[in-house]
């Protein structure tokens, strides 16, 4: 659509993204030549990009294209075979995440980062109450006042549209959509600056998906969160993200502003992907 954006389609090894948000800010996260091999098979190969504070980046591609591998590598859930991931800590220093000590890494993951799993059961403690699920991160960073923890948890449940009186129910008693919203509350309670989401709307029916997306959009905008969202659903990318990375067979084949990529896809594979969306 916009001619100025056509230059976004760059060789895959030197993907310098457009600056979508605040120009004066420095990048929050730098991913440099990250590769992950499973034996001789490629998980993802030579991926580089920057993420700015408050920016939402979608990683799209078909099943098996390496999206989740890449997300796991960036979020330190998995160690990449090679490459570097740098993160700007709250004190402004840039740190290489794989050089952080185990204690520092855990602290980062439960304060400044969040991870929303596709299956809520992976991200929640299914046998403790909703309140404790939300409160766990608070207790992990040293909060020791039961009344305050409970109040904060109740506020967050309300923010994600779960009734306050469900605070003592276990997530097992929740529907799929509620579980996913609870998982989001659990991640956001410590005010993270970066949230990773792996197919956050996967497995939900469309009306629930729509409400969840609406909620996520609101929260991301309101809290100024940066997020990396992995999805195979281009509609999710369209609604949530500022910028998009298209992956195929472990490599990035196209990147750019979401609207540009979706409305004016350059790479043949992206064109195929977009034209495959079912029109109702």
């Amino acid at each position: 659509m916009n001619k100025a954006h056509t230059s976004d389609h760059l060789p895959k090894s030197s993907l310098v993204p457009p600056r979508p948000m605040d120009l004066s800010e420095k990048p929050l996260l730098q991913v440099r030549s990250v590769s992950k091999y499973y034996g001789r098979r490629v998980g993802c190969e030579d991926i580089s990009f920057d993420l700015w504070p408050g920016e939402v980046l979608a990683i799209v591609g078909e099943s098996g294209s390496g999206k989740t591998t890449l997300l796991d590598c960036i979020s330190t859930r998995m160690t990449p075979t090679s490459g570097m991931v740098n993160y700007r800590m709250r004190d402004g220093t840039m740190r290489e995440v794989f050089r952080l000590g185990e204690a520092e890494k855990r602290f980062l993951m439960r304060t400044d980062w969040g991870f929303v799993h596709q299956n809520p059961a992976d991200g929640l403690r299914m046998t403790v109450s909703a309140g404790a699920n939300v409160g766990e991160r608070l207790m992990a960073i040293g909060k020791r006042h039961y009344g305050d923890i409970r109040e904060t948890a109740a506020d967050w449940l309300e923010q994600v549209e779960i009734a306050r009186d469900r605070i003592d129910d276990q997530p097992r008693a929740f529907s799929g959509g509620m579980r996913q919203r609870l998982q989001i509350a659990r991640n956001l309670v410590t005010g993270p600056r970066l949230v990773f989401m792996d197919e956050p709307t996967g497995g939900l029916d469309v009306s629930v998906q729509a409400r969840l997306l609406d909620l996520l959009r609101g929260l991301v905008a309101e809290l100024g969160l940066a997020a990396i969202v992995v999805t195979h659903d281009l509609a999710v990318a369209r609604l949530l993200s500022h910028r998009m990375v298209v992956m195929k067979e472990g490599r990035v084949i196209e990147t750019g502003l979401t609207d540009r990529v979706l409305d004016d896809p350059q790479a043949p594979y992206t064109q195929l992907l977009i034209s495959s969306i079912l029109q109702v």
Binding site: E102, R106, R110, R125, G135, E136, M139, A140, H145, D168
Partner: protein, 315 residues
């Protein structure tokens, strides 16, 4: 704690010995002593050790027996408690075991003992310097029921990632209105490691704090030893608005009239009759020997005749 073998001792008495002093061989004892020393150096840290088969089933105190066997010497005096009592099966057989295998003096009096092996209680009488109390531990990992992976719990201890422990206490309050954990109540040792005090009632937790005696914990099946050196800070976990509390009893011991002690409920008949007596049998006997009497003491009941009988069924 000398290296005199059972053989030396029995040789003097003209008997034939088939076992080393205190049952375990000297190499094993050295290995266990190394684990104990490491445990003392890092209070509350669970030290792995190569637990041996003992002539008793797991769950009967194999860990405690191995620790006791490794530290006991011919000049020690041993007391063994099971749920506070000196006369229950576990206590009697372990005491007999060491009387035979180490030829040590045994006692039921807390003050006389140099080594006290215990299951589920800390004596009411304060321990003093020079005493060692050995706990039998079934499950040493306080995080076990919250996080089943041992690989993960060890990491959590290593990096002091203890938020999960408070999740358990939060759940108690949310569901029951108070912290409902009554035994194996988690403690933080010397401001660092979270530790399971073995299934002692939380009533005994304050006794661990800055105790004059050395506290050793042995878990035979789980192959872990941990320790609290004398005069170490031991703090029970809690919330600011739900502070740690010990159990309170409404009536004194029915036999010795003791208050501020941990009581056992004893069912008297199938009409609902019951009495509460000291769980620490030695403490109770000692008080009675000094003239203290409770509402159901035999001499009081005799003196009160018919009234006493009535009182007995109502109490």
């Amino acid at each position: 704690m000398t290296s005199a073998t059972l053989h030396d001792i029995e040789a003097q008495q003209g008997a034939i010995a088939d076992y080393n002093f205190a049952y375990l061989d000297e190499q094993t004892k050295r290995m266990i002593r190394r684990a104990i020393l490491k445990g003392i150096a890092i209070p509350g840290y669970q030290v792995p050790f190569a637990s041996r088969e003992m002539p008793m089933p797991y769950g009967w105190g194999t860990g405690g027996v191995q620790v006791t066997a490794s530290i006991i010497g011919p000049d020690d005096t041993l007391k063994v408690i099971d749920q506070g009592a000196d006369d229950t099966t576990n206590a009697v057989s372990i005491r007999a075991f060491f009387a035979r295998m180490a030829k040590v003096r045994t006692t039921t009096h807390t003050a006389e003992a140099t080594v006290i092996q215990t299951r589920h209680r800390i004596p009411e009488e304060p321990l003093h310097e020079g005493q060692v109390i050995v706990f039998q531990v079934p499950i040493p990992e306080p995080l076990r029921f919250l996080e089943p992976r041992e690989t993960e719990t060890r990491k959590m201890h290593a990096v002091e990632d203890y938020g999960l422990m408070h999740v358990k206490l939060y759940e108690d309050i949310a569901q029951k209105g108070h912290i409902a954990t009554n035994y194996a109540y988690p403690v933080k040792v010397k401001g660092r490691y979270i530790m399971d005090p073995s299934p002692t009632p939380k009533f005994d937790n304050p006794k661990m704090h800055r105790s004059e005696a050395l506290q050793l914990y042995g878990a035979g099946r789980e192959m872990r030893i941990y320790a609290i050196p004398p005069y170490t800070d031991v703090v029970s976990l809690d919330f600011e608005d739900y502070p740690f509390e010990i159990q309170h009893f409404e009536e004194p011991c029915a036999l010795c009239g003791g208050t501020d002690v941990f009581l056992d409920e004893v069912i008297l008949d199938d009409q609902g009759g019951r009495m509460f007596v000291c769980s620490d049998s030695d403490y109770c006997e000692d008080r009675r020997a000094h003239g203290h009497r409770g509402s159901l003491s035999p001499d009081i009941l005799d003196g009160a005749s018919a009234d006493g009988d009535k009182e007995g069924t109502e109490a």
